[in-house]
Symmetry: C2
Subunit: 396 residues, 2 copies
């Protein structure tokens, strides 16, 4: 994967975590700066040997994951995240650039300015430990029904802007394009790590869904297993190919374009629509016209179109609900890129962004109660056509 | 299904919905009362013909459900619930008994007192419309990828107590036993309705998960399809039987008893344990020792044991978290009964209650963000063993 138009500068934080600056404009300030400014924090070695309760020193281990025998799903156990240390001061944002002239940064970014930055999460749910055999499995309590293995993946953070008060929809097309380059670069690099099954780039926005860091940022998970939703999509796509010879995700986009009842954006390279069986109070899928497997597979002009398309889409989502005084209500949302898996079934994949919101009316959230949480069964409180009608209404 | 020890009295509400009083003690007050007190509300006929925008009168239809082509899941569209009429006054609880001497009740229960009541939800997500062919399907926009059909199920409410300020854990063993009889009776009756695939009895408790009615109550969904979680369990159980000849759900209980690291309750007929791959901040499964398919299949002594077991379990859950002053914090929870499906795969089922909570610390909820909502992938913030240790600690 070659990164075009941006300069990528790699460095390492004090505890060895990787950090990459993606600079899109002269004088490439963050990349230049970081060569002078090392991370001065006294962070502990993440992989230092551990002394057990029995006094024996053992090599560091990462988080484990267990196979749920009832559903066949892997469940990473991120319990080690409960022992978080070195939390930044309450008034310091760990995603803001370092203050110029400060002895050292309270936060994660050593440079005093940046365009876009990606780095490894300090308290990750998934972690690859050097020299640990990620394929080595064991049985919980020695029970054959309870296989476990290392949750050997990678969790990264993507800072969208050095400006703490900004948000994705406020960025310039050039900056969004840089984020796309960062997503594509990291997808390519993380897919090449041993044992990675799929890469998921996503953003959680809004206090309503538990986001505690207001600084505009997203996350990237490199997962050592195929997630349940992706497994379901692969099962459906394989059955469809078997039955019809067609490509399911391609034909869904074709169906939406033909029906035209739920399409809300259509540009040279991209189509956005409310899916025919949307389950969330607000849900939009954005897909390229061309069959593309993942973000690294996007051509230059598709990326440029995507940058403006994303800005237009998110601006519209922030007009979906209005307060009683007519003021728009910023939509809390989850936006995640579904990409082709790395291994078996890769050819069944097709890149698309899923944006969903749990806000069903101003001040009213859709809660996941018994039917959703206990049975994984979704019931929509609206219809896809109503969502689409509103998103057409608030187009510029 | 014969209901023992309780007297069941059926009646109909003004709009034709069924209501059943389950009385467990002389003088069977609610059952006797309701014969004198009809529901006097001017409720509209739920199945009246509808005049369309085009002026044409058509037979009433119920909610529809659409098949999500990406996941193969049915999504009921409960949009008709948005047009709710006849909502009770804000200060009136629709689940409280009618006030003695009042001209008529504001609420749903015509009787002036009751032990346990079940009735059809007035604004159901699933509804069987008389004379509508539930098997009749159609295509959204004529697209073969988007099948739809009537969401022809049934949603019922179960009032656990006439006392508005009570909660499940406050009930007497006799009253809990009556609730068990009501669950079993309704499971049997709803399973016999045409087109019902499975019956789910559950309770949502706590404002934290969006419950707006404080009155202690649960719900029963009779679903016209097999839910995603149940489908996953059936796939796993079928593969396990193929591979080993064994019964998966039976062997999971046996594994937990053998390991004994997560068992938190063990009585003559019941075992409660934190599952080895628990995904929620608090999660407990409660299963009978004997292989039982569903609630109607429970023997008399199993029901009696279950009543006291449930009271002990929920009392313990309310001691799981304590406030800074040491006061226990009532746990918001979802408790749902997984029962064998009605049709194919029924023999792979085994009754168990799943109790889960999204509270991960006092005042702190687990939010379902990108990985959970976008990928249906769960990451636990704790370990099953820690949950079990705490539940053992707070045993009486």
């Amino acid at each position: 994967m070659t990164v075009s138009r941006v300069r990528a500068t790699s460095t390492r934080l004090a505890d060895g975590r990787g950090l990459i600056y993606f600079d899109d404009s002269e004088p490439y300030l963050s990349g230049a700066t970081t060569r002078r400014l090392n991370d001065p924090r006294p962070l502990p070695d993440r992989f230092a040997p551990v002394v057990g309760d029995d006094g024996i020193v053992r090599p560091a281990t990462g988080p484990e994951m267990r196979l749920d025998p009832l559903t066949g799903e892997w469940i990473p156990m991120a319990s080690h995240r409960m022992n978080r240390t070195f939390l930044p001061a309450a008034d310091a944002c760990p995603l803001c650039p370092a203050r110029p002239g400060a002895a050292y940064s309270d936060g994660e970014i050593p440079a005093t300015d940046y365009d876009v930055v990606t780095f490894e999460n300090r308290f990750p749910a998934l972690l690859q430990v050097p020299n640990q055999d990620a394929d080595a499995g064991w049985l919980v309590d020695g029970e054959p029904l309870y296989p476990a293995r290392p949750a050997a993946g990678r969790c990264e953070v993507v800072c969208f802007s050095a400006n703490h008060r900004s948000s994705f929809a406020d960025l310039t097309p050039r900056r969004v394009r840089t984020i796309i380059e960062a997503w594509a670069d990291r997808t390519g690099a993380l897919s090449a790590l041993p044992g990675i099954a799929q890469v998921y780039c996503f953003e959680n926005r809004g206090r309503e869904i538990g986001v505690t860091l207001a600084h505009p940022h997203g996350q990237i998970y490199a997962l050592p297993y195929v997630t349940p939703r992706t497994q379901a999509m692969l099962r459906q796509a394989a059955a469809y190919r078997e039955r019809t010879g067609g490509h399911l995700l391609h034909d869904v986009v074709a169906s939406e374009l033909r029906a035209d009842t739920r399409v809300i954006h259509s540009s040279e390279h991209w189509v956005a629509y409310v899916p025919a069986a949307a389950r969330w109070p607000v849900e939009v899928h954005l897909a390229p016209r061309r069959d593309v497997l993942d973000l690294p597979g996007l051509a230059d002009d598709e990326r440029t179109d995507l940058a403006t398309t994303l800005l237009s889409l998110f601006a519209r989502l922030d007009r979906f609900f209005v307060a009683e005084d007519g003021a728009p209500i910023p939509l809390p949302y989850i936006a995640g890129w579904h990409q082709a898996v790395v291994g078996e079934g890769r050819e069944l994949g097709r890149l698309h962004l899923q944006v969903l919101s749990v806000l069903r009316a101003p001040g009213k959230l859709k809660y996941l109660a018994g039917v959703e949480s206990g049975m994984a069964a979704w019931i929509s409180d609206t219809t896809p056509e109503r969502i689409a009608a509103r998103l057409r209404e608030v187009a510029e």
